[in-house]
Amino acid sequence: MRKQVETSRAIAETIALCKPEVICAYPITPQTHIVEGLAQMVQTGQLSNCEFINVESEFAALSVAIGASAAGARAYTATASQGLLFMAEAVYNASGLGLPIVMTIGNRAIGAPINIWNDHSDSMSMRDAGWIQLFAETAQEAADLHILAFRIAEELSCPVMVCVDGFILTHSYEQFDIVSQADVDAFLPAFEPRQVLDPAHPVSIGAMVGPEAFMEVRYLAHHKQLRALERIPVLSEEFERRFGHSTGGLLRTYRTEGAETIVVALGSVNGTIQDVVDDLRQEGSSIGSVSIGCYRPFPLAALRAALGHAERVVVVEKSLAPGIGGTLATDVRTALAGSGIPIFTAIAGLGGRAITKASLLSLFKKAEAGTLDDLLFLDLNLPLIQRHLDREKQQGRTGPTAENLLSDIRALAAQIG
């Protein structure tokens, strides 16, 4: 059914169609509207047979989901940024135990300095925790991916994070095709756990494992992720056949046939990138883009196949490995190891800084012209940086960096007429 609603609402309605049995979440910007939507549906009875628990912290949120999932219930939670870090111990616990929990991450920067706006640093911090990480490119996909997530999670006995750009997607009001209950029921069968707390068949879950078996346990986790690489494309195709929406998959290519320059990115920025690719193609450029839909497991082979013919690759990413460069870029480098294809990293959009068509246009043109640095920060305010570095040279007690930059912004703005 088509409707114009906030993405968070569409996500909530789609999750409700997945018949979760236990929802437990702690509010954090920008995930609040999703959980509020679900709370409302449980209160009115629109979402029935579901326990909604208002927990006292994010650590409690994922812990409650772990207990519920271990006891055989389909469990859902959502968080972002600081909240994801606060539940970090439980994040590893959930994947270590193989519990098929689905969790939405409203991608948001991590402090300090505190910042409520979008970037990918939060889900990046948990990229090696053993969860599957799917990234939504469009608002429709942000809703659809949750259905796919439950199916993948329960088939593989592995928790799944659905990453949705905070504010940019979560708070966008758009047109959705909300799928039908019948279709969801056909695609997503009832949860059949691999292991379960059942008084009739008592088992001990969560035992300590020593050096004699820990390597093997971890190898099996690695193997599970490799298996996910095989299953995600298959299940995504089944999803498309059933629902008529192209959703998920390991990655999507856009006009990459014969492209000399290929741009790689995660999430909603791909929309803007595609508009720029169209404009440049119009001008005669040979350029395309790849949107990675499944970040963990990282689709090394699929990406290498998609990028193999390019003369250069530009990674535009909303994450930073301080002192190294890009986080996504590092994985892209692994995919292209030995190929000799130069990879340029543009760190962009951190803490919600807008990534504009104009900036991307300039960036891609520089790439084509061969004037791009290997690593750059898009739209950096260089005078601001320089002022701070000068200050540090002159003074011992410089005070908090964030405060200084903010007052400098005002001072600099006053200078500019």
Partner: protein, 329 residues
Amino acid sequence: MPATTIKFYQTGTFTIGNRLLQEEGASVQSAESRPNVLTSGHRACQGCGEALGARFALDTAMRAANGQLIVANATGCLEVFSTPYPESSWRVSWMHSLFGNAAAVATGIAAAMKVKGRHDVRVVAQGGDGGTTDIGLGCLSGMFERNDDVLYICYDNEAYMNTGVQRSSATPTAASTATTPAVGPHPGNPPGHGKSVPLIAMAHRIPYVATASVADLRDLEYKVEKAMRIHGARYIHIHVPCPLGWGTEPSATVKVARLAIETGLFPLFEAEFGEVTERTPIRHLKPVEDYLKVQKRFAHLFSGNADPQGVAAIQNIANSNIKEFALHA
């Protein structure tokens, strides 16, 4: 526990022949058919108070739940000594949570049972003092406030024992631990009021709170049975001596626990919805020295250059407990 009139055949001890009681009044442990939820073969130390308390508590809970029981267990001694891979001593549906979230995991299990219509299945969460009074307090308070249908049992041996006897917020005044060693001008744990989780539980006005001890195992069973008849958030705090951490004789565990009660340092009481409803009066009041002298962790209080106020401070705590909980017989 309500009084039952029976004839004693042995005086000077608390031995009550189970054969003299009605079957319902007999200890679960006396039955051949006892569940043995925590069965033999675990790796607990000789004389471990926690293993003793857990066996009695969980067998009682299991019987009360007709076998339909699920347990969430925090990280700690109990979890570690009971599940050394690839073995488990648990004969119940059991899950090791994390250190600070046993209460939350139990909430999740209870929610799953509720949504699946399994009203017959009961849930117990358990942990040591570390996992309860310190790192687990947030999740515990959340479970209390929501009145989730979980019985939380805390086994209090007054320090982080499994990691090497470090101080917790349950460690009593003056006790020597690895992080409050008995050296220097102020040996042992600094004086303080401690953190009474039973009182914190009462402040949440949950349906049932009780303290218990391995010195009175029938009383412990009685309290678990009573808790299991109630639905909603319930809390039982069990005092369990640790021979290794306290420096006591392994064979003296029950005696030491009894001394804690008889000095007034560990009050036995029950509370419902925030009000104390029952207390166990002290039959033979003892001075705190009797309790402290048998524990190496308090030895520095009796050395040559010990601060004379050291023991007096602890006696004051005992006296105020006796007053607060009306423990005089």
